[in-house]
Symmetry: C2
Subunit: 401 residues, 2 copies
């Protein structure tokens, strides 16, 4: 699994750990801790689902302070739909972590992933906290990336380093995805650590913008989970001039953060459940941005389109059909569709049987773009989607058992 972890995967002033606490039935790692040696600015984005897991409720509240020191994450149990007990359990774990690390419990952020409706195995988790804290190390991020996985087949990790306001800063991120992936905000668990010095207002703003162009642009199955959480800690260890909103340093930092998030988002979609293809749906020349978005979503989420991607079948009719029922007022007889550079639809009709072969060749690739030109205006939208395979059904029909 180490081939998926960037070399020198660490951030000055941060320690991390990941181990197998026994939350999962398997012996896989299932508990991770991220820790900043000094107080850090913090920001987060959370699921828009009306059903929010206990750790989401707790972290959302705590991150409002704009600061944080530690993030405790478990896989194997979502602590969602667990009522007051779920909240108490989260608070209790926070206190344990805080006392071990000698920090304020309100600076502990939480995230969970796994089956909905099960309560946390508290005893098992508490027993592991001493060894979790003891194993904290500057090299521990790779273990943490492993410990947050559920049906992911590989850990998702990304790193960027560049100069901002006169100093080299590092941003490292880990993510877990696979199912319940939909472009309605933080569609999974993502944790970013940076040594940049940045105001919490600027951090919040950069995060919000970065998510918009990355994790809000991917879809695997259109489901939005109860536990989606994206947290960032910035501890200032780089010693750069403190980044403030609307400055050149802010713009530079924002680009770095966006690049990091986009890299993680693409890894996430490529490792979606049963995924064999990653397809970018690009809608161009819509009259309005929401119109472009509607078309992109309908195409990206259509089971018939996604099974055709899996079958490598250049069945453009299903794509045009999905655009037609998207709710956007498209003019069917104006639409052009391209598979990469191969035009398959011209003005709402097949562009000719000679396109079949090159179009099929594009679909045999692991990654390609389906572009719809609506010829209605100047707005655009894109989404990364995936195919729907036998394995998607297999994984999800048997996930819990």
């Amino acid at each position: 699994m180490t081939e998926h972890i960037p070399p020198d995967f660490r951030v000055p002033g941060f320690l991390a750990a990941g181990l197998a606490a026994g939350i999962k039935k398997t012996e896989a790692k299932d508990l991770a801790l991220l820790y900043s040696e000094v107080p850090a600015a913090a920001a987060g984005v959370f699921t828009t689902n009306r059903v929010k897991a206990a750790p989401v409720l707790l972290s959302r509240e705590r991150v409002k302070s704009g600061k944080g020191r530690a993030i405790l994450v478990n896989s194997g149990c979502a602590n969602a739909c667990t009522g007051k007990k779920g909240i108490f359990d989260g608070q209790r774990l926070s206190r344990r972590i805080a006392s071990s690390l000698k920090i304020d419990p309100r600076d502990v952020l939480l995230a969970s992933t796994g089956v909905i409706g099960k309560v946390l195995p508290l005893e098992v988790m508490e027993k592991s906290i001493p060894s979790l804290v003891a194993s904290l190390s500057s090299e521990g991020l790779a273990d943490a990336a492993l410990a947050i996985m559920t049906t992911d087949t590989k850990p998702k990790a990304a790193l960027v380093r560049d100069r901002v306001n006169g100093k080299e800063v590092t941003l490292a991120g880990i993510a877990k995805g696979a199912g319940m992936i939909s472009p309605k905000m933080a569609t999974l668990l993502v944790f970013v650590l940076t040594d940049a010095a940045i105001s919490s207002g600027a951090l919040r703003k950069a995060l919000k913008e970065g998510v918009q162009g990355s994790f809000n642009r991917i879809t695997v199955d259109g489901d939005t989970s109860t536990n989606d959480t994206l947290l960032i800690l910035a501890n200032g260890r780089a010693g750069n001039g403190r980044i403030q909103p609307a400055t050149p340093g802010f713009r530079k930092f924002s680009v770095l953060l966006h690049d990091l998030l986009l890299a993680l988002a693409k890894k996430t979609v490529a490792d979606g459940e049963g995924v064999t293809k990653v397809v970018r749906i690009l809608v161009e020349r819509a009259r309005t941005a929401p119109e472009a978005e509607k078309v992109a979503r309908a195409v990206a989420n259509s089971p018939l389109v996604k099974t055709a991607f899996f079958g490598e079948d250049a069945n453009w009719g299903r794509i045009l059909c999905a655009a037609g029922y998207s709710g956007a007022p498209i003019d069917a007889e104006k639409v052009d569709i391209f598979f990469d550079d191969v035009q398959v639809v011209r003005k709402g009709q097949g562009a000719g049987p000679e396109k079949e072969e090159p179009a099929t060749a594009v679909m045999k690739k692991g990654e390609y773009t389906v572009r719809l030109d609506l010829h209605r205006g100047a707005k655009r939208a894109f989404l990364f989607t995936t195919d729907f395979s036998f394995d998607y059904v297999k994984i999800n029909a048997s996930y819990r058992s």
Copy 2:
């Protein structure tokens, strides 16, 4: 296949035929004709997709007259996204049928189903018209039911007979479904013949209401096709007092029509692509009807819920999660969920591990109800949905090839 056809499947004054014209690559039947020996009232409902197939555009226009005599239907080719040529082809076929039957071409209604983007094999079809017309018979509806099938595994046919305004009237219907089934209007091809005497206004009204409670209540994959068409012809041969809107006779007729459509809708969803389960999603005590509808749709269309149905996994967390992202302002901590009579969620939390076994027993049945009680008001909505199986992916990954 005859076991799926009701006994004495015919309607006075109507002839029908179905044969293999060679539109499909296989030797299956692919061309059907329905014909009223006398002028008939006609009404129709059509796809809401912005991309409408040529036969939809033609039939929608013609049925506005409130009358019709013949319906020509082919499978194997949707005649969708075929531009002006699609329209010309439809008009040409109408003229051929009309001259063979010695009726007005404007009284010929058309419907097509099959792959989008292919033009009709006109020569092949025209060559079959003489034998199609020659084989018209009062017994021919069963053949027509076979000829309109695509990935359906069985023909869908239903019949009701009852007294209306002093006479026995017959309603017979045939349908084809399987994929691109979504509750946004006439989600497939459905043809109903009746010998009732009814004004075209009353017929239109009864049809609209009947569809609302039947075909608008089923979903297989959330896709709305380009070709959805539901047509009804009423030729008055029963000799009943002519049915007018807002009379007892109208209400009686409406109930019969609704029963017929619901029977066809249920057969359609049960024969959806790769379906092994038919699940009724019932949402109760919503504050508003649209709110109930939103929740029902989100649950019914969630791939994660549908794969859990396939896996017979009582994973209620996915159901609650889908309700949460439906867009309806539900209160998660008030929701109760039942699998038939087994309560699995109480106030947003698991109702106890002892419910696991009886809940799983319910899910092993071929048909059951998932009921969500929102505890917010007095409105309700239901939908029939299906599981998502390996075969759904298999059928749709390879459908066109």
